[in-house]
Symmetry: C2
Subunit: 268 residues, 2 copies
């Protein structure tokens, strides 16, 4: 497949402009109701940040704050290497538009192919109905303003957690299902940050709401994912005065945990 | 109690040096085996960062990466306001020693006294034995190198999760108990970041290990804590090739959830 460029890679690509500065763009097609997806924006910033530390290929801990709303259009990314060590490297990056910061990221990089030490898994992967038995997100009944974003993925929700769309909110703030890119791009550590922010908000199963903007998103990538489907579960335990956490777990096609995520968001 | 200065406030104090730069110090007494506690270092950086955004008094989402090990001694903190908005403000800060960055923090600030919106709590506070029935951390049998740090707190572990110290590791990676400052300082949002990193690692109940250094720490402060004890629960579900997450929940004396934390750490 030499020469094939997948949407995710093309649309998160950046051009070096020297001194840690990058010419970027917020491409259309990754927005919901005009607001670019946060995981997509972070993935673009990571495109720039990662090139600074080639010996530490994997984003192990990604933290992102969202001081301003981005818009489709030109952008710049400023990156800085905080420190490169033997085992880990720390890099920061900020995406700005019209000179105003929109997303600021810090990442501890490492090499997941060289980790060593004890393992102990206390929780097993939940059993979901197979993708064929799940509900495709963004079916013809979904509102037009989500179609652009949803069409980038093959995203299927378990029938229990699709009830907000197929019937009425289940009353349990949980969203579960399967995700992969629609164009066949296989998952890697960087795209797990996007996958961790691509499911409908788990609070859609609690109450009708419009946008649930992210204030902060943290993703820990724990393993390089195998090719194929990624299985995701997102849950909210504490909605307090409009603020909520959404905790995510992602497993790969081998059944191994590949990432944990948490975001702080606010219901509008 | 006018005129009283508590240890935490004195030992995290900083002096302005202009242009977002601060003279700071890593004070002795907050280290374990010579390594300053990560939550303490972040609290010092927040002392500087918070003064930049007085209209947004509460750290809502604090993310910290630890590129280098700090040592007791002089330090400087550099802060920058990324953006101040109506409801939230984003600030970054880095603590350096000898010109080398040791801890880099980003924080989304807000005002927890003015939040409004729906609430829905899906999980109730766990019932712990009363503090009097718990096991004080840092008793006379504890090793000398933890005494300095532990003596800053009144920290008591539930008998079930103190078994690594009183008998042998329980086999469940969980650490639960009660915490407050030894000198009577009442909890506030900033010190919750320290409390979220002050319990023994939950993995001490899985296996004997030495230091478990933190790579990244995220704390979401969800409510201003009431005076009195803070109740904490810390759990690790996924230890993979030496890397682990530790998820924490903190409740105040009213029984309300006040913070969620997660850190990525590595067993040495």
């Amino acid at each position: 497949m030499a020469g094939v460029t997948f949407d995710f890679d093309a649309d998160t690509s950046v051009e070096p402009a020297g001194d840690g500065r990058w010419v970027a763009a917020v491409r259309p097609g990754w927005s919901i109701a005009g607001a670019p997806n946060g995981g997509y924006l972070v993935s673009t910033i990571l495109s720039a940040m990662g090139t600074a530390v080639p010996d530490h290929p994997d984003p192990l801990a990604v933290t992102a704050h969202f001081p301003g709303r981005a818009d489709p259009g030109p952008a710049e990314v400023d990156t800085a290497v905080v420190r490169t060590g033997r085992r880990h490297a720390t890099v920061t990056g900020t995406l700005s538009q019209d000179g105003a910061p929109r997303v600021t990221v810090a990442c501890t990089y490492g090499d997941l192919s060289r980790t060593e030490g004890p393992s102990h898994i206390a929780e097993s992967r939940p059993a979901f109905p197979a993708p064929e038995e799940c509900v495709p997100a963004g079916g013809p009944e979904a509102p037009g303003f989500v179609q652009d974003f949803v069409s980038r993925f093959d995203l299927r929700l378990t029938p229990d957690t699709a009830r907000w769309a197929t019937a009425r909110p289940s009353g349990v703030a949980e969203m579960c299902g399967w995700i992969r890119f629609a164009d066949g791009r296989e998952p890697d550590p960087r795209c797990l940050v996007l996958f961790a922010d691509a499911f409908p908000p788990s609070t859609f199963n609690l109450m009708e709401s419009s946008w649930v903007p992210t204030l902060e998103l943290t993703v820990h990538v724990r393993r390089r994912p195998a090719p194929g489907w990624v299985q995701g579960r997102f849950r909210t335990r504490y909605l307090i005065n409009g603020y909520l956490e959404e905790d995510g777990e992602l497993w790969d096609a081998n059944g191994d945990l590949v990432a944990l995520s948490r975001q702080l968001a606010r219901i509008r």
